[in-house]
Amino acid sequence: MSFRVLIASLSALVAVLFALSLVTGVAPVGPGESLAALVHDDAGPLTMVMREIRLPRAILAVMVGVSLGLSGAAMQGFLRNPLAEPGLIGVSSSAALGAVLALQTGFAAAFTLALPVAALVGAVVGVGVILFLAGPGGGAFTLILAGIALSALTGALTSLVLNLSPNPFAANEIVFWMMGSLSDRSFDHVWMALPIMALGWLALARTGRGLEALTLGEDAAASMGVDLARLRLILLGGVAASVGAATAVAGAIGFVGLVVPHLLRPLVGGRPSRLLLASALGGAALVLAADVAVRMVLPGRDLKLGVLMALVGAPVFLHLIWRMRGQP
């Protein structure tokens, strides 16, 4: 399949799933009626539902999916490892810790966006630690180790907060938040996350040439005119901004950044630069599909997006490993 056909197909898939997400919900209205209410303001409740609830939810699904898919492709290309994923550098677990602290201390209730803001602060602190540990002089190996250490530390601190939580309601809220979800989000979330994510996407879009050269290893890439220290900085900044913002608005959603690049790599001929755009679209499609599924599979039960993603993602991944057996 040519690259253009692949990108066109993925774009069409995203468009279809976006429309499907808009017409999926608890309100008993037909798809045509829903979409008509979105376009023409009928001053009734349906227009409000469409414009204030479903539209931001679908837009957030695209934003979160693009962030996770793009970051996963960039991380795998940079570390030259198909098992790398955006969470590897500890940004999402740092963001989660920030959110958990906000929920525990009650700061989350201070204003509408208090929770995502706290998560973003957590992500920024996490990136600071990573850059300090694996900054300009560090190689890929240092980066992986620093990420594992940071994830372990923030995970332990999150557990500590849960462990010592005197308030079972707060603990419950924390556990549910950590499962990841796009329900009850508004345009406030979109406007808060979009500029940060967009900066991250722009940064990651600039890593293509460096990632291509890295196919041959760090030494060869450096000799081919790639400034590795600069590439690492741009890539870490891009992943941190997009994944930090995604975790802040949607909680922890795994597997997208791992599975999507893995599935699409054979379709782009293994080329890391082409995988960036393909994975961004693939990530958007997967998150949209999963967010439609959580509303269709168990309507009214608030099945969490992160739970469904892991339930679907893990078997897909096992299937991939099954097919890869015996290959070099």
Binding site: A213, D219, M224, G225, D227, G269
Partner: protein
């Protein structure tokens, strides 16, 4: 014309000095064979000359910007790495990309032909045999189309015919006016194909000159700890290490 100039180049690995005060220059049209025992500092010399590690002293390449360096020298590291299942032609085209050229630049086809890889162009590069991958990586470096090529043991995994063909490619590059610095352990091939031999021993240059002047019995015993057999034949000089000397 000088393509590489090193002046009192010193490089360390941790606290250990691996190279000490190396000064040399390489001119256009030279095919330099870099020889020496394991751990002598051949790889470090090439990486330090390229500025891929911290150095003291000066190297004409290390002071260039990454882009300008990529236009001057191509580097073929010793440990081959092909991370993804890209096609052979795309992998070789990365050499053209390093120069900011399009992936279908004529230098790509020329490099594929030169390394006898035209039939492999649509195969996945990381699915080839070790020797075939080594040739693909050499072609990648050739496609960078630079005045200077530094190659670290490029023929180590090749069969005898491919070793000879590859050394001929390097010699032909030198005849075209480019320069090649190639490290290798096959002293016979080095003697036959290189215009100049540099012997690295314990982080310093032990000898530098044409093969017949450099590869003396004394040097072979002192640096490599071997005796050797040599003869002049119609096909060129024959040079064969025979036995170890000393303990």
């Amino acid at each position: 014309m000088t393509v590489l100039m090193l002046d009192r180049l010193t490089a360390r690995r941790g606290p250990c000095e691996v190279l000490e005060h190396i000064s040399l220059s390489v001119g256009a049209g030279e095919c330099v064979g870099l020889i020496g025992p394991n751990g002598a500092g051949k790889t470090t010399l090439m990486r330090a000359a390229l500025g891929l590690m911290p150095i003291e002293g000066t190297s004409s390449l290390a002071s260039l910007s990454p882009i300008a360096r990529a236009a001057t020298a191509a580097w073929l590291p010793q440990s081959p790495e092909i991370a993804w299942p890209v096609t052979v032609s795309h992998l070789v085209a990365l050499g053209a990309m390093a120069r900011g050229r399009s992936l279908d630049h004529p230098t790509v086809d020329h490099a594929l032909d030169r390394m006898g890889l035209a039939a492999f162009r649509n195969r996945a590069a990381n699915g080839l045999s070790g020797g075939e991958q080594a040739r693909v990586l050499i072609a990648r470096a050739l496609a960078q189309d630079t005045p200077l090529l530094l190659a670290d043991e490029p023929i180590a995994g090749l069969d005898p015919a491919q070793q000879i063909r590859t050394m001929r490619v390097f010699r032909d590059l030198a005849r075209e006016g480019r320069s090649v610095i190639v490290s290798l352990h096959d002293l016979g091939l080095a003697a036959r194909h290189c215009t100049r031999i540099i012997v690295v021993h314990a982080g310093a240059i032990a000898a530098d000159g044409p093969a017949e002047a450099v590869l003396t019995d004394t040097l072979m015993a002192k640096v490599f700890g071997v005796t050797s057999y040599r003869a002049e034949t119609a096909a060129g000089p024959v040079f064969q290490p025979m036995d170890t000397v000393g303990p």
